[in-house]
Symmetry: C2
Subunit: 358 residues, 2 copies
Amino acid sequence: MNQPALGPVVVIGAGLLGASVGAALTDFGERVQLRDRIVSHARVAATLGAGSLAPIPEGEVNLVVVAVPPTALASVVAEALLEYPSAVVTDVGSVKGTVLRQLEEHFGDVNLARYVGCHPMAGSHLSGPVTARPDLFVDRTWAITPHRATAERAMETVRRLGEACGGRVVILDPDDHDAAVARVSHLPHLMSVLMADHLLDVPAEHLGLAGQGVRDVTRIAGSDPVLWEQIITTNARALRPELEGVRARLEQVIDALDNPSSDRVRSVLEGARAGTRRIPGKHGTPLVDYAHVVVEIPDTPGALAKLFADISRAGVNIEDVSIEHDPVRRVGSLSVAVDPARKDELDHLMRDAGWFVA
Amino acid sequence: MNQPALGPVVVIGAGLLGASVGAALTDFGERVQLRDRIVSHARVAATLGAGSLAPIPEGEVNLVVVAVPPTALASVVAEALLEYPSAVVTDVGSVKGTVLRQLEEHFGDVNLARYVGCHPMAGSHLSGPVTARPDLFVDRTWAITPHRATAERAMETVRRLGEACGGRVVILDPDDHDAAVARVSHLPHLMSVLMADHLLDVPAEHLGLAGQGVRDVTRIAGSDPVLWEQIITTNARALRPELEGVRARLEQVIDALDNPSSDRVRSVLEGARAGTRRIPGKHGTPLVDYAHVVVEIPDTPGALAKLFADISRAGVNIEDVSIEHDPVRRVGSLSVAVDPARKDELDHLMRDAGWFVA
């Protein structure tokens, strides 16, 4: 075992993220000390299994994880580097380049070799230690953002932290990270917020018609406004061009409403559907190209219900279905999208069951 | 049984909504004829149990349900009123006032007494008859939008249609309906679309950091662009002021990013959280005011995990948890929100189990 030590670990800030890191590391067998400005938070986290309030002597601490709100990050990281002069220090904040610049500009006397930031891409619209879970980070992206002065030991220790918590480690430049989260996290958050804020002016009887769509769009707008104000203002530099891009497109949509012959609305809707398909599947896997089993549409009631039952009994998932129409023969066929690995088998099974397969 | 007859019914347009209406009415015991410009669609719907392609003689038809795309609604409704001169005619389109105006302006010779529009608030990001389900409308709002000329028989027949499909019938003025869906359905759709369209310009490696938030916000943007272009342009009149309101608030947020001392971002975030809480719970029930069981935070590892297990074993749902801090006594307590009807019982149970309950 040539692996460098991971713990003992001090976690500063016992909210959802800090307490979850503490719980994951405790489960991993590491000794964890929990600190929080509000002692009740640390105590709740401790009684939920995220570590102990008992101080670890400064010289024994190998890693300090700073999990405080965004506006406090730089100063708490700087203090931790001074207070634990031999420990690696990281933070789990959601903005990285701005915090690094604050450290460089306002704490120029602190050597940043032992510091490297990270960002576990897990969270919840809940907050506080009560909602902490040791498996919060399992299979989630765990971004690490080394800077020029980061020492190899710091990098390796924080990489082991991410792996111990079950995350999928990704290395990114700090400013590149901030641009990425502005686009895939902070902008979506603000779009959700603008929609939800607008609901304040909607009469109650109109809200009675709300369906699943508006609930999905506004779900994350229910998150902690104090935390999100800090995230958004801390990442304002990366966020502004994204918001300006959306504003320009919104202008075009409003103008297009006055001009029915414009194809602007259609092109935005088509772009949007293509945009949703660019989001990678779970665990970062690309979307699959399905194979198609094409069956002639029979003419008897209940026949297609039986077809779907036959496919499902074969243990094959139906990923998509479309209807193809032959205007000459006046018959139609059904194209069933399935896992390419199962297509040939399914073609045979369907023929054996009496279906007319193209 | 003094109830007026509901069927026989002709459904024109065998997409998701039309085929689901047909399937619900077939299950309800009514005779249903399916018609679609694309005969394969009607045939697929029929073989899935949504009715039959066999024509019902015009004089026997009691109700015609028009379920065609928004831009075709007015003309198909007018044709149906002429083709079935003794039937009640309804449509299930998602825009009502505009369609009524089109009928009044372009089909002035058609008597609209037998027509009343409705809007079952159910749908899917899927489309086409293959995804149709007889239970699509169960417990969903089914808006009916009578106009000045609507006859009592038309109103009662369409009310029975909504009830036969399992919907919760709500009566609305047509223009009021359009304002409501602009606010709670079409605007959320466009916000989702603007976000998803923006993803086209995001580098693939940045999309790798996408979490659940952006997936939720953009889910409905994956819907059929052809259908939604029609919905949006048909309801442009009601939608424009909503979009302009969002644009104004977006301007304020962009300006506030340059001005860290502004409390604009915070106030929008707080407004948004309040906005999400205005959306009624499932089935239109108001949000509950919970009762709070307050327990002193113990000092032993695993204690709170046991507390939550004790509460759940008592069969009580934990709706929310917050930490209250007493800076003088330096102890904290946990406030657990539960169903008010269970509070006293739970207080006793917790005391009996050895917890210090306030």
